[in-house]
């Protein structure tokens, strides 16, 4: 049971703002991650109107991968590709990442919907992943 995760933040125009691979890496399907997430976006759009909550749990499955989604009030999608099911931990992870994203938004130099390149952000996401997921 390997604990690999692929985390992506997708902006309102469907382009990725941030992506990272967490945990142990396997070489085979790295490029596949982007495709899976992109394909899942349609299902996220459908699911977000079914529920009032931000956390949408698992919206899609692809072979072994589950796609879980969290939609912020400004329609920014946080998506996680994972193999193991861990709803509560993932929910906490998403909530903390949402707060991190909010802090990034508050930076006057950050343009909304532009890629997030700050290394501090990257480091913090990795810390959160270690705390909740790995």
């Amino acid at each position: 049971m390997s604990s690999t995760y692929y985390f992506a933040i997708v902006g309102t125009n469907d382009s990725p703002l941030y992506e990272t691979e967490l945990g142990v890496q396997r070489d085979e399907s790295k490029y596949l991650n982007q495709f899976i997430v992109h394909a899942a976006l349609d299902l996220v759009d459908d699911a977000q109107f079914m529920s009032n909550a931000c956390y949408l749990k698992t919206v899609d499955k692809y072979n072994d991968w589950n796609v879980s989604a969290y939609v912020t009030p400004s329609n920014v999608r946080l998506l996680l590709l994972h193999e193991v099911k861990a709803d509560d931990a993932i929910k906490l992870f998403f909530t903390d990442c949402h707060e991190l994203y909010l802090k990034t938004l508050l930076n006057p130099f950050y343009e909304p919907n532009s890629p997030i390149q700050s290394q501090a952000f990257d480091a913090k996401v990795n810390t959160l992943a270690k705390r909740h997921l790995l």
Binding site: K103, L106, N107, P108, F109, Y110, A120
Partner: protein, 188 residues
């Protein structure tokens, strides 16, 4: 005298000041700096503009401060430094920087700011750091403008900034000369 300045500052902050939401102020300042960066595209020019803006603010702000605190003349430049730190900064930003690093001839000193409220939430892009943007340069202008109204010509620059990776923010104030009252040109 020092204790007095501290209490004067705190009293004035508590009683004589109207307060606004800090986040509104911080975000307004942030979008101001970002807009300047977009307009000028040269970080040195942005620094200069921030200093000019600060100067205009400072020449007016000092009268406001004197009106609220009814201070008397400072006994010397070191007293001036204390007033700036304990009363000026306290009144308008609610932070009290420390005055240190006096030069040998007592004409230069440093203000060390542990936390600058203008910096909250802000992270400089790497290019801004390498090209030398001083985010809160407006504060330097304010000090320069205020002191010029008090008949002192000064040079005020930022030397260290937490946004650039240093541990504290430091502003260096140098007294160039005391200005004598100039008689306005007569009409003859």
């Amino acid at each position: 005298m020092e204790k007095q300045y501290k209490t004067i500052g705190e009293e004035a902050w508590k009683n004589n000041t109207e307060k606004i939401n800090a986040e509104l102020f911080i975000f307004t300042y942030g979008s101001l700096v970002v807009q300047l960066v977009k307009d000028y595209e040269d970080y040195t020019a942005v620094n200069k503009q921030l200093d000019k803006m600060g100067y205009n603010i400072g020449v007016r702000l000092v009268d406001d401060m004197m009106a609220r605190t009814s201070l008397e003349r400072c006994s010397g430049f070191s007293a001036t430094a204390e007033v700036i730190a304990k009363i000026g900064f306290k009144l308008f930003l609610n932070v009290v920087p420390t005055v240190t690093n006096w030069s040998a001839d007592a004409k230069e000193f440093s203000l060390i700011l542990d936390d600058n409220p203008l910096n909250d939430f802000c992270e400089l892009p790497p290019k801004a750091v390498t090209d030398g943007l001083w985010y809160s340069n407006v504060l330097c202008g304010v000090i320069r403008g205020a002191l010029e109204m008090m008949q002192m010509q000064t040079e005020v620059v930022y030397v260290r900034d937490v946004l650039r990776g240093d541990d504290v923010s430091e502003i260096r104030v140098k007294l160039v000369r005391m200005l004598d009252e100039e008689v306005p040109a007569s009409d003859d």
